[in-house]
Amino acid sequence: MQLRRDIPLAATLCALLLATGASLLAVAWLPAGPRGFAVAALSLVKAGLVILGFMRLHRESAALAGGLIGYAALLCALAGLRIALAG
C-alpha cells in the first residue's frame, strides 16, 4: 500500500465530513438494497481515510494498514448486507 503522497489533513477531514453527510442522506432517501451498498461503501471510505489520511499508517507498516482496512471492510460489508437484506 504505497501512496505517492500523503493525503492532506484538511482534505481528509473534508472528505470524512462529506461522506458522513452522504451516509445520512442515503439512510433518509434510498431503498433498502442501494442503501445497504451505499452505507457499506461510504463507511469503508471513511475508515480508509482515517487509517491512511489521519494515521498515515501506510508509512509505518503496509501490513498493519491493510489489516485495519480489512477489518473495517468486513464489518462494513456485514452491516451493508444486513441493511440490504432486512431493510
Partner: protein, 163 residues
Amino acid sequence: MELLLWILIWSELAVFGALLGAFLLLSALDPPALTVLHRALDLPLAGIATATLLGSGFFAARAASGAAPRRNLVAAALGGFGFCALKLAAFGHELPALAAMDGRLPELHLLITGFHLAHVLFVALLLLAVAWRPAPRQVATVATVWHLVDLVWLLILPVIYLG
C-alpha cells in the same frame, strides 16, 4: 512501531468486533426489535457527534505531524469532551424509550455505545495529560489511540445507527 501499543489496539478491535458482530446477528434475527430501536435513536445528533469526533481526529493528526502539538492536543481533547456531551444528551432522551423495550438489542446498544463513550472520555483525558509536556513519541502514541477511537465509532455508526 510499538508492539504493546498494537497489541492493545487489536485487543480493543477484537472486543468491539465481537460486540458489533453480536449486534448484527441479533438485529438480523429480530428485525422488528431493530425498527423499534431505530425509532428511539437520534440519528441527526449521532451525525453531529460524528462530525465532532472527526474534527477532533483532525487536530490529533496535526499534533502527531508536529504542528503545535500542545494546542492541537488540547483542541482534540475538547472535541472528545464535546462528543461525550452530545452522547450524554442523546442518552438523556433515548434512555426512557430504550428502557421500555424488551429483548437484548437495547442492552447491547447501550453496552457498545457506553463502552465507546468511556474510551473517548479516558483517551481525551490522556490527550490532555500528554499536552501538559508533549514529547513527540508520546504525542504519536496517544494520537494513534485517538484515531482507533475514531475508527471504532465509524464502525458503530453503520452497524447500529444507519441500519
